[in-house]
Symmetry: C3
Subunit: 313 residues, 3 copies
């Protein structure tokens, strides 16, 4: 999707990791790592001083919003928050009119979350030429900063050569924008093997998993893997009849310490949060030595700093 890059290859928006050139992806990871290591800039506060960034959330998300807010603060940006639940969209304004209005206020960066696939791309397509849109999750399509922080976390744990690695993605892949962005990033970085595992009803029936080893047997999927990417189970899936009960789901697809022993001894566990403890992940694993869940959160801030700086500085 060329919408997110200008003709000279500069990143204008971050809408998806699909098709993002490897060099651009690695540059974002390297920049994030530099911020983490404290040599991101002489004074990161000056990077976006005077620039305004708006979190434009049509679907609630405390954690992602706070992470972007913190990233913007650390770069010295002014942050404006727009929450659709108390907004004039309830007065019938379209998302596009909302963006154009806030843009006219002099805001240059938009962090957009929306329940519809393609919403962030639609807004980016209609935005002014110096406006940057970051997709903070649209429908089931993409959540690119989550994908970036996940592979940054994996790189920190396992090194930069992903071709030697086997990973498992487990859970509700069908409805997961996180899984899709993880898959895009892993492929671009030349991952050795991806196993996709979940109940049949929660596996996608499109090309999402092309090239993956797909199955519904968690034990088999975990066998010898270097990393497990767990997904959050939306409780709505039960209402929809895709999952019979939380207990059944935990029995078949919950990651427990016993199960995790099937993976490589130094395997790591990731989860995008918020975790349903006792459903897709047990307390023991969530808080155990192989869990990188909090490392992911820390990486999320620096990844978002790298993205905002790249797009806006």
């Amino acid at each position: 999707m060329n919408l997110q890059s200008s003709e000279d290859g500069r990143l204008r928006h971050l809408l998806t990791l699909e098709g993002l050139p490897r060099a651009a992806l690695v540059a974002l990871l390297d920049r994030a790592q530099a911020f983490l290591d404290g040599h991101g800039a002489a004074d990161p506060r000056m990077a976006l001083a005077g620039t305004a960034v708006c979190t434009l959330f049509f679907e609630p998300s405390t954690r992602t919003r706070l992470s972007f807010q913190r990233a913007a603060q650390r770069l010295g940006a002014d942050v404006l928050g727009f929450d659709a639940s108390t907004s004039s969209t309830s007065k019938g304004e379209t998302a596009l009119d909302t963006l154009r209005n806030i843009e006219a206020m002099g805001v240059r960066g938009f962090v957009v979350r929306h329940r519809e696939d393609g919403a962030a791309a639609m807004l980016a397509a209609c935005a002014a030429h110096d406006t940057a849109v970051v997709n903070a999750g649209d429908g089931r399509s993409a959540h690119p900063t989550q994908g970036l922080l996940d592979v940054l976390t994996l790189r920190q744990a396992k090194g930069a050569d992903f071709s030697r690695l086997k990973v498992a993605i487990v859970g509700d892949i069908r409805h997961s924008r996180v899984a899709r962005s993880e898959l895009h990033a892993l492929r671009t970085l030349g991952i050795g093997e991806v196993r996709a595992c979940g109940p049949t009803g929660l596996l996608p029936d499109d090309a999402t998993l092309d090239g993956c080893i797909v199955g519904s047997d968690l034990d088999a999927a975990l066998d010898g893997v270097d990393a497990v990417f767990m997904l959050r189970l939306q409780r709505e899936r039960m209402v929809e009849g895709l999952v019979s009960s939380l207990e059944d789901y935990h029995r078949d697809y919950g990651l427990t310490a016993v199960r995790l022993r099937r993976a490589a001894p130094d395997a790591v566990v990731l989860h995008p949060g918020p975790m349903n403890r006792g459903v897709e992940i047990s307390d023991e694993v969530a808080d155990g030595p192989q869990s990188l869940v909090l490392r992911q959160v820390a990486n999320g801030v620096v990844v978002r700093m790298a993205v905002l700086e790249t797009l806006l500085a």
Copy 2:
């Protein structure tokens, strides 16, 4: 209303444009224009550094709140947000106790929106001597920064001599604080001719339109005008029986491209937003070359910077 000026003529609050001396009004417009042109100050960030401004909204409004927040940020002020829906007013505290409390926290500027006429003036009357209140809309009475930004937009398009201009104000004038503030500002600046147009039930029955040419025929009202100030139709008006249907309203009072041709060829169109597309304004006009809607939004930020700086610096 002398509440908003001190004895030596200094502006202490901005509650209404009614009675605001022409020199004071023009000074605010000039200051706003200077901010827009980038020569507002050597470093606008220092203008209100260390000063705290609170957006005190008893009625929700995302856009006006964000515009004031951005204005305050650009002046370097600290912004505190008070949203009555999650506030202690639900515990029975009065608006005045709320203001006095936040004032006691060292906050000097209050941007107040309230559904009752006169609410901002009441708070200003009871506030401490160094507190400044900006009315961000009270009942049907006034929305002075909207009036200012509208005449600033008109001045940019048509020049400073308003005596040569004919303008139309169209829609639900009866319930509109925007229309009232526009009328105040236009009169003060010596507008040549104002035509007020809307269905009979939405025209005011008081002195609001004194001196205007009042009617219910939109085609006649548009004939040869230099600018059209459209108003938002509140959907509640149908429930109240003041409007029969959105379709009827659009047919009789919706500004379409065809209709706009009755105005002067270089006529401009303003709307305070959010727009009901297909009701009071067609997409073609809203997004067309004569629309200044986004210019109004941009002017809103600098007008509010001018107001906050004038009151607080």
Copy 3:
């Protein structure tokens, strides 16, 4: 409770005033007074520059949240707001996971309000070693910054020798975290005499009032006291049958000007707000010359500055 102090006596969290050494308590009051007097620091904005503070409110409170936000702003901190009503806790995340996540984003200070007793302490016990938790009210247990600001207000009015003072605490002591923190602070500062007064059903049946003169006759409790600490009556108490009606409550326990004459002539009146005017306090007293209610609010900001600086700088 040693959780809040490190082995070398440094304050790590502020969870309760119970057991806080007198020297530590007085140091906080002195520091707050210095901020109030304008000689808190050469540039208070630098004290917490680059440090992030999160208001983590699981129970709504506009005023306390704004007061902490203002305190953090004045120290130059970045503020992040977490409001449980729109948060992922609704997705089943625990308060502890929420804290750990925001902590992983690089946030070092947490201002926590929660309806459960001990919630802030639980979070402090599980937090990272360089994280500081300030209890902004937990259940009925404690609201230490309110206690601090109340004794600071009393000290300003009556001097530092509390042993000569007689005070009354009036109202719903049983359910009040404010009363408990006031009692802790007053005892630590060697208060001469505390009278606790309220209807029997609203008096605690535990050790809360040890050492106090307890009774249900307001006139007797007020007789000759130097200060009256009024408490807010939660309207829920009527539903629970603990109070028969607001009228009865006002007749028996409302502080009116007539009643206040029983206190010492220069007695002062405090109330944590928001006030139920006409219930526990009359307008005449609330706005009268003996009321220190707004002084308390002003002191709240500097007390919170002192606490945040002590814990985080």
